[in-house]
């Protein structure tokens, strides 16, 4: 899931100064409620997330003219054997 950044003015909230490489965990009733990360760390994580998504996307593979021809010709029926005598000889 790609991260989205929600901007809140520094005047509206009071948060401790984030340090690079350090995450401040804000907990409530013993549970993790929010995490405060330094902008450098956030952008690094966001970049890693995007790179992972890009790496996971398979580049499409365009078939060559020869492969398309093989697909069409081998996928098209030829002359089926329908002669009863020939079928009797083959299958008894």
């Amino acid at each position: 899931m790609t991260l989205t950044a929600k901007v809140v003015s520094g005047n509206e909230v009071r948060v401790p100064d984030p340090q690079a490489g350090e995450v401040t965990v804000i907990s409530r009733y013993g549970k993790e409620r929010a995490m405060l990360v330094h902008p450098d760390d956030f952008h690094r994580l966001d970049e890693l997330d995007r790179m992972l998504a890009e790496a996971a996307e398979l580049p499409s593979l365009e078939p060559t003219h020869e492969a398309l021809r093989a697909h069409l010709e081998e996928g098209a029926p030829g002359e089926p054997i329908t002669d009863p005598a020939a079928l009797a000889e083959l299958f008894g």
Binding site: P63, E66, A70, G75
Partner: protein, 180 residues
């Protein structure tokens, strides 16, 4: 009986039904139907199953999955004989792995095939296991070849595997974090 994954076998492979569709009729000549829309209209009237006369061909195929036990089916690819490729240069491209749509089958490992062949990456077939003649394997791919083949199939069919890969990567990351 050898496991089918990665092996080549003789099989009875159907061609995809195409218009004019020919419906089998008891005691009468097949009834041609020119388009799929006529079947849709019939289905809306409550009649949706018919016996269609579909051509089939006895041919070697390359099986690319194990037998799905719930359905007793496999996925397989049709083959292209090298002599049918347009030029010697094209044959060389396929041998080198430079044609992404044709996967070379090394003659040394596919001794049951009378001539050199390539698997057609885009020609995915779903076959009942009973349509494979598994009395003898005509040859088999190495495990690394099978992985490369699967990757090409996913790419040529533009299968969206990104979410799967991401979830797997995220789960591995979480596991690594828990170990710390």
């Amino acid at each position: 009986m050898s496991p089918p994954l990665g092996h080549c076998y003789w099989a009875l492979a159907p061609f995809a039904p195409a218009p004019p569709f020919r419906i089998y009729q008891e005691g009468a000549a097949p009834r041609p139907v020119g388009s799929v829309e006529a079947f849709t209209e019939a289905a809306r009237k409550g009649a949706s199953e018919f016996v269609l006369l579909t051509p089939v061909k006895a041919r070697p195929v390359l099986v690319i999955t194990d037998v799905l036990p719930e359905h007793d089916e496999v996925l397989a690819l049709r083959l292209r004989r090298f002599e049918k490729l347009a030029t010697e240069a094209e044959r060389e491209r396929v041998r080198e792995g430079s044609d992404p749509g044709l996967f070379h089958l090394e003659p040394d490992r596919f001794r049951g095939l009378p001539v050199e062949n390539a698997a057609i990456i885009s020609s995915l077939l779903r076959l009942p296991a009973a349509a494979l003649d598994r009395r003898s394997s005509l040859g088999a791919l190495e495990d690394n070849e099978l992985r490369a083949l699967h990757e090409r199939i996913a790419r040529v069919h533009r299968l969206r595997l990104d979410k799967l890969v991401l979830e797997r990567a995220q789960s591995l990351l979480q596991r690594a974090q828990r170990k710390r």
